[in-house]
Symmetry: C2
DNA sequence: TTGTACGCGTTATCAG
DNA sequence: CTGATAACGCGTACAA
C-alpha cells in the first residue's frame, strides 16, 4: 500500500492569517481561552468556520501527550453480544470526547499482541479489552507501557480439570480454586457469571423443575463460573448432582449436537440452563428436532440477552447482561472519570416463552422426588463417557 | 475529562543513542532502508526490541501525511449484519496495514456529521461509510476534504410515494425513477438488492407458491429495491400484483405486528418474502403465534444471512450477502488497491427449513389460479387502508 | 490581551 | 553508508 501523498488540510496558520492574528492567539481563541477578547475570538471562529478548519489530531497528540483515542479490543464484532458491547463503549467514549480505535483478535492470541502494539503506536490514552484469550500478556504489555486499561469479562481459557471438578460433586478445595479464578481486579468490569447462572437456575427450580442439565460453552473462565452458579443453586435446593453437557468443540454446531445426543436418553420434563443465548437457541433447535416441545417438555434458559432473544420461537427466557452499563462503566473507569475499582455487575432475569412450570404430564420417571431419588435421572450416560459426538456428559 | 499527563514512551532518539548511531540512521534502519549496513541495522533493531520501542503514529502521520487510519462509519455494531461487515472491514484493513477508527451514527444524521468531523481531525486516509442516512452530506464533506471514501450499501431514505408506486401496479416511468435510485457510483460497493429479492422470490415461485406477500423494512432505498425485485419476479411469472405489507414504524416489533394482522385475513399456503433476516424471523414468530406452521402453511424467506439464521427454528432460508467480500472490496477500493469502480455484488440462495413446496392441503381459496384470478387473494384489506397497527397493506 | 519561540517524534533532504 | 537539520501542526511558557 503506497499511501499516496494527499494535500494537507487547512492549518491553524491559515486560520490565523485570515483573521489577522498570530497563530498562538488563534489557538487560544479556538480553545476557548478566557483571556481572549470577544471580537478576536469571533474573528478567529469565523475564519475557522469559513475555511472548515479541523485541528490535526496527530499534531495535537504530539504536543499534549494525549491522543483522545481509546483502543478497544474484541474477539469479533460479528456476534450479537460483542457487537452490542462495542456499541456501548463507542457511545460513552464519544460522549466523553474520545474516539474508538477498534481491533479484533478473532480469538487468536497472536492478533491480540498485534492489536496492543498498534494501540501503543497510536499512543491511545487507554485500552479496553473485551474478553481476550491471553489477558495476562495483554495487560503485561499495556501496564509496562503505563497505559491504563480495563478488561471486560476477562474470559481466559481454563483447565479442563477444573470444569470436571465443578461438574462432578467434588468439593474439596474447590472454593479456593474458583476464588482464584473469580477475583475482580481494580481494572476489571465483569458480569457476575456465577450469580447470573444462579438466577437462571433458580427460576427453573422455582418453576418446579427437578431434572436439570447445564450446557457448557468453551472451556473458559466464564463457562466455569456459570456452571458453578448452576451447581450452587441446585446444591442449595438439594437437587445436586445433575448432568453437565460439555461439547468437545467450541462451535455452536457441536453444542447443538451434544444436546441432541443427551435428549435421546432423557425424559420430560427437563430444564436446560445454557451457557449463553446462542447456546440456548441451539439447544432449542436440538429439542425441536428431537420432537420435544419447548417449553412444555423442556424449559430452556439462556444468559446474555442478545437482541434476537426476543424474536426467536419461542422467545428466550434469559438473564440479561447490562451491556450498556458494562460498556459505559469500562470507559469511565479507564478514563479515570470514576474511582477505579473492580466492578461486578448483576444480571436481570427476563422471563419469556422458553421456560414454563414443570408439568408431570409426560412419562417422567419421577417428578416430585427429593434429592436422593431424583438426582440420577435423565442421563444414563456413565460419568466421563464420551458420546458419539465427543461431548462429555458428566453425571458424577 | 482532564487527560492526565502520562510519561512519554520510548522515542527514536533513545533507540539511536543506545545503538550508537544518529537518529536518522535509526529511522532508516527500522524502515528497512536498503542503504544501511547489515551490522548497524541489527544493532538498531536489537536496541528497539530491547527498549520496546513503538513508533509514534501521530508524529509519523504529521510528517508523512498519512495516518494509516481508515474511518469506518456504521449505524451501530450491535446488529448482526453491521457487526459482521465491520469485522470484514477490520480484517482486510489490518492485512493492508491500516487501523480502523470506528464511529457510529445510531441512525442519526447529526452523529454522522460529528463522525466525519472527527475522521477529518484524525486525518484518516480514507472513509468507509456503511449505510448512512444522509450520504450526500457525508460524501460532500469528505470529498471537499479530498478524502477518498467508499459507501457500502448506500441506504438512504426515500419518498413514501416511491414505495407506493412500486407496491401498486403502476408502471409508468417507474423504471426511470428506480434507475435513478440504483446507480452504482465509482465509490459504491453494493449488494444487489433487486437481484437478491428476485432470487428469494423465484425460489418460492419454483416451489409452487401462488400467494405471496412482501414485508417491507424502513422506507429506504434498499427496501424499495428489494420490493422491486419481488415485483419483477412475480410479474415475469404472471403472478403480479400481490400484497405488500409496510409497517408504519421501522421497528421489528411493528413488523411482527403487521404480519400478524395480515395473517388474520389470509389463508394457506402463503409465501412471505421478508425485507431481511430479522424481519423474516419476526414474521415467523407472527406466524407461529397465529397458529400457522412454518413452512407447511407459510414459507418465509429472508435476505442477508446473519449468523443466527441457521440456528432459529425453523432455520431460515435466505439470500446470503457476501459480507466478507463486501468489506474487503470496500477497503481495497478506498485504499486504491484496486481499480475504483462501482461494485454490485450478488447474493446466494441458502435453502434451509423455513420454505417448502406449496401444498394445497389447507383450505386455500385458490392455489393453481393464474394471474387475474389469483391476485386479489389473501389480504382483503383495501388499498391504502390502515390496519389497527398502522401498517399499510397495499393490494393494488 | 496578544505575539514569539520552542519542542513534541518522525521522516526526508542534503551533505559528506 | 551515515549524520546534521529542516519541517509537519499544534500548545504553551515567557515576554511584551
Amino acid at each position: 500500500m503506497p499511501p499516496q501523498r494527499r494535500p494537507a488540510l487547512v492549518t491553524l496558520r491559515e486560520v490565523a492569517a485570515r483573521s489577522g492574528v498570530s497563530i498562538a492567539t488563534a489557538s487560544r481563541a479556538l480553545a476557548g481561552d478566557t483571556a481572549i477578547s470577544e471580537p478576536t475570538r469571533l474573528r478567529v471562529a469565523e475564519a475557522a468556520q469559513h475555511l472548515s478548519y479541523r485541528p490535526n489530531a496527530g499534531a495535537r497528540s504530539l504536543r499534549t501527550r494525549s491522543s483522545m483515542l481509546i483502543g478497544v479490543l474484541v474477539p469479533t464484532s460479528g456476534d450479537g453480544y460483542y457487537g452490542e458491547v462495542v456499541a456501548a463503549i463507542e457511545h460513552r467514549s464519544r460522549q466523553l470526547g474520545y474516539q474508538v480505535l477498534l481491533a479484533m483478535s478473532h480469538f487468536e492470541t497472536e492478533r491480540e499482541h498485534e492489536a496492543l502494539e498498534t494501540f501503543l503506536s497510536q499512543r491511545v490514552d487507554a485500552v479496553i479489552s473485551v474478553s481476550p484469550i491471553g489477558p495476562e500478556d495483554a495487560m503485561g504489555i499495556s501496564s509496562a507501557a503505563m497505559l491504563t486499561s480495563v478488561i471486560i469479562n476477562w474470559d481466559v481459557a481454563v483447565r479442563q480439570r477444573l470444569v470436571d471438578r465443578v461438574a462432578s460433586g467434588a468439593d474439596r478445595g474447590l472454593a479456593t480454586s474458583v476464588a482464584q479464578l473469580a477475583p475482580v481486579g481494580p481494572n476489571h468490569v465483569r458480569f457476575d457469571d456465577t450469580a447470573g447462572a444462579a438466577t437462571a437456575t433458580r427460576h427453573l427450580v422455582q418453576s418446579g423443575h427437578r431434572q436439570f442439565v447445564f450446557v457448557c460453552g468453551a472451556v473458559t473462565r466464564s463457562s466455569v463460573l456459570r456452571l458453578l452458579g448452576f451447581r450452587q443453586t441446585l446444591s442449595a435446593a438439594g437437587l445436586w448432582p445433575q448432568p453437565v453437557i460439555q461439547p468437545a468443540e467450541a462451535t455452536l454446531a457441536a453444542r447443538q449436537q451434544a444436546v441432541a445426543d443427551f435428549l435421546r436418553t432423557a425424559r420430560p420434563p427437563l430444564a436446560v440452563v445454557a451457557y449463553d443465548d446462542l447456546t440456548a437457541i441451539a439447544a432449542i433447535r436440538a429439542a425441536h428436532e428431537a420432537g420435544w416441545s419447548v417449553p412444555s417438555d423442556v424449559s430452556v434458559v439462556g444468559i446474555d440477552d442478545i437482541e434476537l432473544a426476543q424474536y426467536t420461537w419461542p422467545s428466550l427466557t434469559t438473564v440479561a447482561q447490562p451491556k450498556a452499563e458494562i460498556g459505559a462503566l469500562a470507559v469511565e473507569a479507564v478514563l479515570g472519570a470514576r474511582r477505579r475499582a473492580g466492578q461486578l455487575l448483576e444480571g436481570t432475569l427476563i422471563k419469556r416463552e422458553s421456560t414454563a412450570e414443570a408439568t408431570s404430564t409426560a412419562t417422567s420417571t419421577k417428578s416430585t422426588s427429593t434429592k436422593s431419588a431424583g438426582t440420577k435421572t435423565g442421563a444414563s450416560t456413565k460419568a466421563g463417557a464420551r458420546s458419539t459426538t465427543g461431548a462429555r456428559t458428566r453425571v458424577r
